[in-house]
Every structure is written in structure tokens, then in C-alpha cells.
């Protein structure tokens, strides 16, 4: 399970870096989104969430509490998600304005226009 998750997180990072290196700024923004997904997922699994330790437990007995996974990373990603959401909204508005002002979403094309 944890190996599978590690591969998935690594794959998400790879996707995001591939997208970040593209010329189009639309792909750039999607790359940022993937970067934050990969990071949040990683943060999520630092709490030791596996099939034997549930995400939360009703405080009936101490033995059950002991098997539950650490709840703090869940609280952390909640914060990170909200911040990521705000930043994603801002960057989308930014690329929209960018497109409106310059008429292109291609960064290379833009520098060629500026040179000429």
C-alpha cells in the first residue's frame, strides 16, 4: 500500500514537473495544481494511514485509539488545500488577464513579439 502510494506521489510530481516545463502558461497552471496535489497527498500519508489503522476512531477505548492513524496531517492538508485553492484561483485569473493583454498563452511566442 505505502509502496503504491509512493509510486503514485512520485508519478504526480513527474507530471507536474513535465507540465511546469512546457511553454504554454495554461499547462503551467495545471502543473502548479498537480504539484500541490502531490504535496498534499504526501502530507496525508505521513500520518501513517494504512488499511489496519483507520483515519479516525471514536474514543471508546484506548486500544482502539492506539490503532488509529495520526489525525494531525489531515488537519494540515486541510489548511494547505484551502491555501492552494486560493492560489489556484488567483493564478487562473492571472493567466486570463495575461492572455487578454498579450493575446497569447505561449511564453516563447511572447518574447518573440517583444523582440520584434
Amino acid at each position: 500500500m505505502s509502496l503504491l502510494m509512493a509510486i503514485l506521489i512520485g508519478f504526480l510530481y513527474a507530471v507536474s514537473i513535465y507540465l511546469l516545463l512546457r511553454r504554454s502558461i495554461v499547462k503551467l497552471v495545471i502543473g502548479i495544481l498537480f504539484l500541490s496535489y502531490a504535496t498534499n497527498l504526501m502530507l496525508f500519508f505521513t500520518g501513517g494511514l494504512t488499511e489496519t489503522s483507520p483515519a479516525f476512531a471514536e474514543p471508546i477505548s484506548t486500544s482502539e485509539l492506539a490503532t488509529a492513524s495520526d489525525p494531525l496531517p489531515q488537519a494540515l492538508i486541510l489548511t494547505a488545500l484551502v491555501i492552494g485553492f486560493g492560489v489556484a484561483a488567483f493564478s487562473m485569473v492571472l493567466i486570463y488577464r495575461f492572455y487578454k493583454e498579450s493575446g497569447t498563452v505561449d511564453l516563447d511566442e511572447l518574447s518573440e513579439i517583444e523582440k520584434s
Binding site: 504526501m42 486560493g86 492571472l94
Partner: protein
């Protein structure tokens, strides 16, 4: 007490929203707010003189569980410096920035930025540090795009992407660290790292922290976003950025080096020295080849970060005192040079050195206002830049770190060269096709702001005999992190 520097800007934001349509009230309120922050910082400093650390637990939860706020001499000195620069910056912006930008939330965003900066300086919890960094960075995103000119939008894409990558690496590092040590409290992490053998993944986390804050502080090889984006917004905003954003990044490096990385000095010292030397050299060489005042000064921000890193790497009382003095000196001098450059632009209508000229003849006071911080950046006595560099070089020779110290000396000469270049081109050179002054009268607020920050620069240099004790005390605290750990976690062994 410790929450005041964070609460004041947050309350000001609410009030500024309430007075959205009245610009005069907004301006007045912003000035009152930054002065109140100055008083709060002074009050914390006075409380500090007794025991050295001031600790507050948010919500009353005890230390490793709740969010802790800690003030020591380093953070309070920077808190004080930020609020002093903020006073100058707000007043300068009233005179410099156009009314459209002022009405569209300039002052509100300044307060947001200040809330983030003050929070990042005071917090003792790494996840909370991330939150304050985001508060700061998001305010700066909006500030850098405010006005939506084409160049601004283009530059802000780079700024946004680099800063977000930095933030994400930071969060990833927090996750790794938490999975290994099970705590987020900075003192608790430092304590656990000292009590037990450090798991290997913790070292990866610290390396990720170094890269994340390297991006935020614009060190080699992550500095390219800074000169690309800083020159685009109105120079009043750039001046404020120069005093806050990168400096907080480098402050966190200082703090983390003291708490976590100094356990492994044999690995970190060469890394820090290499990065510091390359940052200095690249920054100053690129500054030497530019002809736009804003670009030259932006590249110098990068170059000066290298000196601060050098102080961190030296890690002795004199070296660290020099690094902290250098951060403060940089806040004042850099902001003042940017402001003086802005005044030149207002009078002459250009930032291009080739088009400027004869400012010494037409506006001698402005030339003088530029001269003081420029000499400070180059390191000529009696300006604070001289003392900062002197301390760093002294500590460098004292610790027999020859390479980095000699690099610092050479870079210092090149800095003098580019300051002299601005002086020769803008002040003394006869104008080609004499346009005279584009504008006859500039709003007094812009002059007042510049004069405030230049005076601060001069005062820091002249009073160094008294203030050095504080810098040395701050350095002593950083050298012995067990004091920090004991202040936050009194029950720990």
C-alpha cells in the same frame, strides 16, 4: 503582548476595508497602523531585556501541542527594522503611487504583507510559519500585479511560479519532518534532534527547507525570478518588497541553521559558503552590466543576500552579529536607494541611466539622499554597510575562511563600481538633449518617506557603538539554541 504585531495589521485590514471609498482615511489609518506596530515592537524589546526570550502559547495550549510564538533578540531586531521601514514606505507610497492603485487596495495589501512578515518572524511552529509565508506571498502576488500592466503580468507569472514551487517544497519538507519526528514545534524538533540519532529522512527535509527558502530569499541558483519581476511594479512597491520578502526568507535560514543544521556543520558549512560566494558574484556581475536603475538595485539585492548567507555559514558571534546587522542595513539602505531612484524617475521620467543626467546640478538634495544609502551598500564608513561588512570580513579572517572572505572583498569593490556608475551617469553626466525636469513639483510625501529611510540608514551607522550589543546578544542566542529550547519547553531536560 507577542500577538500585537500580528493583530495590529489584521485589524487594520478590516478597518481599511470599511473605509474602502475614502482614500484620505486609508492613508491616515495605514500610517497609524505602522506606527502602532513600531510601538508594539519596542514594547516587546523592552520586555525581552530581562530574560532573553518571550514565549506565548496561542489559545493557551502547552508548548509542543499548541502553536507557539517566540521572540528573541534576532526576531525583535528584525521586527523593529520592518516596522521602521514600513513607516517610510507607506508615506512614500502616498506620494509616489498613482491614485488608481492606491484606491484598489494598495494599503490593505501592505498591511497583509506586514501581518505575514511579523507572523513569520515571531512564530515558533513550522506549519504556522508556512501559513504566514503564504499570507505574505499572496499579498505580494497581488501587489506585484496591481495595475495589471502588460510587463507586470508577464513578470508576475515567473514570480508566482517560482514562489509556489518554493512553498510546495516547504510543505513537502514539513510532511517529511513530521513523519520522522512527530512534532511541528521548532524547539521540540531541535530538542528531539539533539536527544536521539537523526533519522536520514530528516536530513532530506532540511535540504528541502534550504531549497525552499533559497528560492524565497533568491540565492544562487534560484534567484532569476527576482531581477525579472522586481523592476516591474511601481518602485514604491519594489522598495517595500526589497525590505521584507527576501529578508524574511534569509531570517528563516538563519533560524533553521541555528536550530537544525548546525548539528551537521561539516556538511552544511561548505554548502552555505559555496552558495553564498556564487550568489554574491552572479548578483554583482549582472548588476554591473545593467543600465536600468531598478535592475541594478534588484541585482544588488541578490548580491547582498550572499553576504548574509556568508555570516550564517561563519556561525560565530561576530559573524552572526554581522549577518543580522547586514539584514537590517540592507532593509534600510536598499529601500532608500530604491526610493531615491523613484524620485529621480518622478523628476526626469526615466530609470535609464543613459537618459538621466545632471541631477546633482538640478536637485542637489536628491543626489545627497541617494549618496548616503549608496555608500552604505558599497560599504564606506560611517554607514551601517561598512560595519556589517567589517564584522563579516573580520569573522571570516578570524575563522580562516580565506576563499569566501576574499570573494566578499572583491564583490564589495564591484558594488562600489556600480554605485559609482549610477552616480556618474545620473548625477554628474551632462544631459544629452537637455529636457530639464519633466515635473516641477513632486508630492512632499514622497520626499518625506525617502528622508525618513535615509535618516534611519545614517542613524544605524552612527549609533552602532550602542546597538552592536543587541546584535551581539542576538548572535549569542542563535549560537546556543538550548536557550531557545529551554524557553519554549521548560520541562524538557
Amino acid at each position: 503582548m507577542l500577538f500585537l504585531p500580528i493583530l495590529i495589521p489584521l485589524i487594520s485590514i478590516v478597518l481599511l476595508i470599511a473605509f474602502r471609498s475614502r482614500l484620505k482615511y486609508q492613508q491616515g489609518l495605514s500610517i497609524v497602523s505602522v506606527i502602532a506596530q513600531l510601538f508594539a515592537a519596542v514594547a516587546i524589546l523592552l520586555r525581552l531585556s530581562g530574560n532573553g526570550h518571550l514565549v506565548a502559547q496561542a489559545g493557551g495550549w502547552p508548548a509542543p501541542f499548541g502553536i507557539t510564538f517566540v521572540a528573541d533578540y534576532t526576531s525583535v531586531i528584525l521586527l523593529l527594522a520592518v516596522s521602521l521601514v514600513a513607516i517610510g514606505s507607506v508615506i512614500y507610497s502616498i506620494g509616489f503611487v498613482d491614485f488608481d492603485r492606491q484606491k484598489n487596495g494598495l494599503f490593505l495589501l501592505y498591511q497583509g504583507l506586514l501581518a505575514g512578515v511579523n507572523g513569520a518572524l515571531l512564530t515558533g511552529d513550522i506549519f504556522n510559519l508556512y501559513v504566514w509565508f503564504e499570507v505574505m506571498v499572496i499579498s505580494s502576488f497581488v501587489l506585484i500585479t496591481l495595475g495589471s500592466e502588460k510587463l507586470q503580468l508577464r513578470a508576475s507569472v515567473k514570480y508566482l511560479v517560482m514562489n509556489l514551487i518554493g512553498s510546495m517544497l516547504f510543505v513537502a519538507a514539513i510532511g517529511l519532518l513530521y513523519s520522522q519526528l512527530g512534532t511541528l514545534n521548532m524547539a521540540d524538533i531541535a530538542n528531539k534532534m539533539r536527544l536521539q540519532p537523526v533519522p536520514p529522512l530528516v536530513n532530506s527535509a532540511i535540504m528541502l527547507f534550504f531549497i525552499a527558502f533559497g528560492i524565497k530569499a533568491a540565492v544562487f541558483p534560484f534567484f532569476f525570478w527576482l531581477p525579472a519581476s522586481y523592476p516591474t511594479p511601481p518602485i514604491a512597491i519594489t522598495a517595500f518588497f526589497g525590505a521584507t520578502l527576501t529578508k524574511v526568507g534569509v531570517y528563516v535560514m538563519l533560524r533553521f541553521y541555528s536550530l537544525f543544521a548546525q548539528l551537521d556543520v561539516t556538511f552544511w558549512q561548505p554548502v552555505i559558503f559555496t552558495v553564498a560566494a556564487l550568489t554574491m558574484i552572479f548578483g554583482v556581475l549582472m548588476a554591473a552590466s545593467s543600465y536600468d536603475i531598478r535592475k541594478i538595485l534588484s541585482f544588488h539585492i541578490v548580491s547582498q543576500i550572499g553576504y548574509i548567507l556568508m555570516g550564517i555559514g561563519l556561525f560565530s558571534v561576530v559573524g552572526l552579529a554581522g549577518a543580522i546587522l547586514f539584514i537590517v542595513h540592507n532593509m534600510f539602505s536598499k529601500t532608500a536607494t530604491f526610493m531615491a531612484g523613484g524620485l529621480m524617475y518622478l523628476y526626469k521620467g526615466s530609470y535609464d541611466l543613459k537618459k538621466l543626467g545632471w541631477i546633482y546640478k538640478t536637485k542637489p538634495l536628491l543626489a545627497f539622499l541617494f549618496l548616503i544609502p549608496a555608500l552604505s551598500l558599497a560599504g564606506i564608513p560611517p554607514t551601517p554597510g561598512f560595519f556589517g561588512k567589517f564584522l563579516l570580513l573580520y569573522a571570516g579572517f578570524d575563522g580562516a575562511h580565506w576563499t569566501i572572505t576574499i570573494v566578499a572583498l572583491i564583490v564589495s569593490i564591484l558594488t562600489l563600481f556600480s554605485m559609482v556608475k549610477i552616480w556618474n551617469e545620473a548625477m554628474w553626466k551632462p544631459e544629452k538633449n537637455s529636457v530639464g525636469l519633466v515635473v516641477k513639483k513632486v508630492k512632499p510625501a514622497a520626499w518625506t518617506g525617502t528622508i525618513i529611510v535615509v535618516t534611519l540608514t545614517l542613524l544605524l551607522g552612527l549609533t552602532i557603538g550602542y546597538t552592536y550589543d543587541y546584535f551581539a546578544e542576538a548572535a549569542r542566542q542563535l549560537l546556543d539554541p538550548s536557550l531557545y529550547i529551554k524557553a519554549v519547553l521548560p520541562e524538557q531536560p
